[in-house]
Amino acid sequence: MSNLHNVAQYILLVILLGLASVAAAQDSASGDHVRVRWLAPESFVAGETETIGFYFEVDPEWHVYWRNAGDSGAAPRFDIASDTAAVGEIQWPFPVRLPIEHLTNLGYKGNVAYLFEVTPAAGADTLSLKANLEWLVCRINCIPGFGSMRLERPVGPASSWNSGDRALRDRFAQRVPRPGAGSPWRAISLSESGGEKVRLTLEGPGQSPRVFPLDGELLTATEPALRTDGDRIHYTFERVPGSQRPETAGFVATDGERAWRFDAIPFGAASSAPTDGQATALWWLLLAAFAGGAVLNLMPCVFPVLSIKLFGLINTGTDTAGRLREGLVYSAGVLVTFAALGGLLLALRAGGAAVGWGFQLQSAPVVLALILLFWLMALSFSGVFEFGHRLMNIAGSSRGGSFATGVLAVFVAAPCTGPFMGAALGAAAVLPSASAMALFLGLGAGLAAPFVLLCASPALLKRLPAPGPWMDKFRQLLAFPLYATVIWLLWVLGRLLGDSGWLIGTLLLLAVVFALWLGRNFARAGRVAGYLLAVGALVAAFGALRSPESEPQLAQGEWQPYDKIAIERARADGRAVFIDYTAAWCITCQVNKKLVLDTPAAMKLFADHDVLLVRADWTNHDSEITRALAQLGRNSVPVYAWYAPGAEEPELLPQILQKRMIVALFDEKSTLQLAEDETP
């Protein structure tokens, strides 16, 4: 009997529960794998705006979606009507990327609340809302769901929330994107990158935010390729194939806790930021910098300086420990100088000045000072005067001397851009400051390494011949590269200042030699006269340094001076363009010019194919050419840019040119032919 009673009670309970759920159907909605209920207070306050929402409880592994659902899927739809309240737009918490098979969707892992604002109408004592909902819930298969929900709540003097619901509401409200103006990031640019990509650049500190496109018609939901460059973060999004480009596009950026909305970023011109292909890994650049630095030891303008130093070390007969100390002091000199130059470059870059490597040779006083220095060293080597004692004391045995040698080595090495240096320096000019400085130090370490090695290893040093009279002859021999350097620098000065450069430079050299002669031959009075003459000549010479009024960029033969508009026009006309970025002080440039570019064979090829030849002369500081180089990701010369007819992007030729490379521009078959001919 009692059993039967229990059963009846149970049945009654089930029926009651069923009735209750029918009655409550107004207050919630459900479908396969989804239950939706209100997140709303028990009572509203008259005239006060409250944020409420729909809370979607979703089965594990099933998802509902963001406003832009991504490659498939669909955002839920809310149709809310009320006579007794003003209802705001749906606020969408920021999503996550949900990869499903070959697609990416934008939605939520787990439960989510879609929020909106509601304000009770004036005078209403209840607030009622009716909402029609449609949603899509997917794991791999998708199931649409529909539902109707009604909300009836009193409007009273105070709002009262179920504390759990309010916490839920607050949690998701926190994730709703706020206006981008208050975000840690600033939108810098938005540009098309080829036909299939769109690049967004943000600027800001710290971790790169995740970014979601608002417009699924324009961009796919695939995770964008990310690249950072200092404080700038470049996102490259995949475009929906064939989509039309709107005027603006919107994005949401999130740090994982909060989010910001960038509603309408206008499309700008393609930015000149280097393309991803050039964003080479830092370690590779550092390696290249080190190798480039090591190669610099063999450059004609560095080798003599190092020889002097090594020469001094052997001469003084210091032991291994002493030599190692010298080597390390030398390295310190090199590194400090590289760091200083790097710091200067970074400071100038920060200041917006368009400068490039080798810029110290764009300054006439620096060039003149170098001429004087090398001239004195050469004279001393030749035995004209015993500057030796002092120079050797300075650049010789003392620690300051090793340090000075290091400084000198860097200064004269800089313009001898080794084949590896171009890319490393170009990267340094666009890299974040810390990485750029690391590159500079890498170059310095490369330059210093062979010398330190030689100092540290007695075995290697023993291979060097013992000191003897041959060293005098060797020293005299070393004078000749120095004389050659003087001639080269004089020529640079001539290019900088015109004919007067030659005159000022050579007159100063003459005055210095005369002063030396006076000082050596006429005891005290002579020495005083010598000093006076030297000082007078120096003042006069440096005072006379003036740039020529105009800088005639002479068209040399077929070569046109750099003119951006002419280049653009030629490219628009479908003409091929070859640009030789060069400078008088760049030896590699001059060699390439003489051996390859200005040869009749190359000129004929260029003429036959109607190529616009441009010589961008960077001998003097020219900000337009500096900018053009930066766009190519370079910061030093030589650079050879080849625009094939109709080509969007230039092809950059190697820094050391060969004739067959020019031939190859016009006929790929002949490259193969030549290459085969060359193989023995």
Binding site: S72, A74, E101, H102, P241, G242
Partner: protein, 202 residues
Amino acid sequence: MNGRHLIRSLLLLLALPTLALAAAVPGEKAPDFSEVDAEGKTHSLADYQGEWLVLEWFNQGCPYVQKHYGSGNMQALQKKYTAEDINWLTVISSAKGKQGYLEPAQALAEAETHKLNASAPFLLDPDGSMGRAYGAKTTPHMFIINPQGEVVYAGAIDNNDSANPAVIPDSENYVAAALDASLSGEAIDVASSRAYGCSVKY
């Protein structure tokens, strides 16, 4: 070994993944295909040279496909445009064992129950080669190819990604608009859109 040659080979290698992700892009040549229909007849792009061709991706289990078939919307479009000598192929790219996969006999039966009005009973692409070549993401994903073999439309069937058939009368049908514009010699207003629906089950 020629250095340029090596570089070119390397570039080619790098380009391979991009080729694998090729898609039908409005304004560009349509990717080739050659697939067998439920009746065993082979259809390839070349067969439709000089003619208009509509491609539709299908999965009978997808609620969005059901939206357009249950309402008769898709069949009406098929009927209307095939009557104007436009070819219409409905493709199933579901892999064997995945939702929507049909054996030829089942496909014939489905064509019957769905009152399919396409030019051929379902084109069967179980290896997904055609779907991947076109970059078909969803069912229904729609493509229109002109007589020159160029894609002129790629994307959704209309502008309303609701699964509710009730919204169809108020939706802007992109496929119909593109076909009507093309047939009357006008420019296509919307040539691309986000394809909505269920993911293709490759």
